[in-house]
């Protein structure tokens, strides 16, 4: 997939992917991840600022992916989940560690891992995955 070799596409997102920086609307007090340019609740009345999430959350639902898409073959099987961040927003992410222990409701924290490699000669894309808190 040619877009997966795109350098600017991933570069543009690096702050959010590396550091969980989203936005907060000062009008309605809601937090969003990833960043939004427009508050979906307040729209033009919204007033958005960057917001740093703590990297802590809990599992809302989960699965183990055994048939991966192109580019993720070598990582299979891997666990994925929807995570509710402590501050309120939700995000999809892979769960690392003992994937047989993944359960809804378990607390998780962000760790930094490789997400995807564009072949052996292309760029390595890094970002957040999630580790079950002990």
């Amino acid at each position: 997939m040619p877009y997966k070799s795109s350098v600017p596409l991933f570069w543009r997102l690096k702050k959010s992917k590396y550091n969980l920086i989203g936005t907060k609307c000062n009008t309605c007090d809601k937090v969003f991840f990833p960043k939004r340019n427009l508050c979906p609740n307040c729209r033009r009345r919204g007033n958005l600022d960057d917001f740093q999430f703590s990297g802590k959350g809990k599992i809302v639902s989960h699965t183990i992916i055994r048939v991966p898409p192109e580019g993720f073959e070598k990582y299979a099987p891997y666990a994925a989940a929807i995570i509710e961040l402590d501050e309120g927003a939700r995000i999809s992410g892979q769960i690392v560690g003992d994937i047989s222990k993944v359960e809804t409701g378990k607390p998780v924290r962000a760790v930094f891992r490789k997400i995807y490699e564009d072949g052996s000669g292309g760029l390595i894309h890094y970002g957040m995955k999630w580790e079950m808190a002990e």
Partner: protein, 387 residues
């Protein structure tokens, strides 16, 4: 102003190694024209649904190509895209073009050629329907999105693995009668439960297949409908949107788009869920049929699994769902599915659908879903012309 469907065509859904997208599109269009007993020269405009020819076969500008191949130059041709709901959108655009008074006879079509790519590439392409930056980019697949919904539905409502398997069993039992189905054979609950895990808790036989195919229907204005035999009338049409990424939804166990689209369609038709005789619903994965049964109002939220288990969706039961086989058995060429569902409802309502006929079906509903539910389209059809 009322609009009717007077012709419907579908190619065999299959892995068509010898046929290209253009072959399949032309074949479906010709079948629809033949069914309507009109000549192509009467078609005033074409709307075609297609999800991702650009990535599946590297071909964009598909609508013009379809008109070109069909010998219908120079009529206007428009492509519609909403992932797996692409052709339901094409159908609505065709419908609106007649309602606007611009045209009297219009073709709505859908097509997808998926098997030219290898499996993992096809999976990645389908994931283009999700959030590319925040779902696909972390390795999620479409089945995994529905697996996340299934897990939540099981945990929240006690829906069982067996109940999900029963959806596939029901649809294959119906599809076994369908000559145009990709997998026209019956399967058992045990086979579903023993099939390979794809994304826990969903297994291979919970998933609709990767398929090549094309479909087309002919829509006409009330003014010209009298020239056609057995027109099937559009009673209501609704479409709604939701967040592209599943994780942004408040609930993982319902699809807002289905609820809003069906509410619109029911209102327009002046009907209630109990009035629906048959329904073609989007069973891309078994759990989605259970969620759809609930969201369409056929049963209470959370009781969809029980509804299936109680046999209420069988072709001879109170609410026949996917009586021609559903996406599971017929196959799911993503951009063609929406109109395939409509084509099957039309044929059922005419009352002469051979082995597939559900007796006494007068009102039918088709639910087509794009992605993990970011687009939902519901169309309701009737045998009798509404007042």
């Amino acid at each position: 102003m009322r609009v009717a469907v007077v012709g419907a065509g579908q190619t065999k859904f299959d892995e068509h190694w010898e046929k290209s997208l253009r072959d399949l599109s032309t074949e479906a269009g010709a079948l629809a024209l033949k069914d309507a007993r009109i000549d192509g020269k009467h078609i005033q405009s074409l709307y075609i649904g297609n999800m991702s020819a650009g990535r599946f076969i590297g071909q964009e500008h598909l609508a013009a190509l379809a008109v070109d191949q069909a010998g219908l130059i120079p009529i206007p041709a428009t492509r519609c895209e909403a992932a797996c709901a692409s052709s339901a959108l094409a159908f609505r655009e065709a419908y609106f073009s007649i309602l606007s008074g611009q045209y009297d006879i219009v073709m709505a079509a859908g097509s997808e050629k998926m098997t030219d790519l290898k499996g993992t590439d096809a999976i990645a392409t389908l994931m283009g329907a999700g959030d590319q930056e925040w779902e696909s980019a972390i390795g999620l697949t479409f089945v995994s999105l529905y697996a996340l919904m299934a897990r939540r539905h099981m945990e929240k409502y006690g829906t069982t693995r067996e109940q999900m398997a029963m959806v596939s069993v029901n649809n294959h039992r119906n599809g076994a009668l369908n000559e145009l189905a990709q997998f026209p054979k019956e399967i058992t609950i045990e086979q579903v439960l023993k099939s390979p895990l794809i994304s826990d808790p969903l297994r291979l036989l919970d998933c609709s297949p990767i398929t090549d195919g094309a479909t087309a229907v002919i829509l006409v204005s009330e003014r010209v409908a009298k020239r056609f035999e057995n027109p099937i009338w559009i009673l209501g049409s609704g479409q709604a949107s939701d967040t592209l990424a599943l994780h942004h939804r408040k609930s993982l166990t319902e699809l807002l788009s289905t609820k809003v689209a069906s509410k619109k369609a029911y209102e327009q038709a002046g009907l209630k869920p109990k009035d629906i005789d048959i329904a073609e619903v989007h069973d891309c994965f078994s759990i989605n049929e259970i969620i759809a049964i609930e969201d369409l109002g056929f049963c209470e939220k959370g009781k969809g699994g029980k509804f299936v288990e109680d046999g209420k969706i069988a072709r001879d039961a109170e609410k026949p769902i996917n009586p021609t086989g559903g996406l599971k058995s017929i196959g799911h060429p993503v951009g063609a599915t929406g109109i395939r569902q409509i084509s099957d409802i039309v044929k059922q309502l005419r009352g002469d659908y051979g082995k597939l006929q559900v007796n006494g079906a007068k009102i039918g509903l088709a639910l087509n879903i794009g992605g993990s539910g970011a687009t939902g389209v519901v169309n309701i059809f009737g045998r009798d012309k509404p007042k």
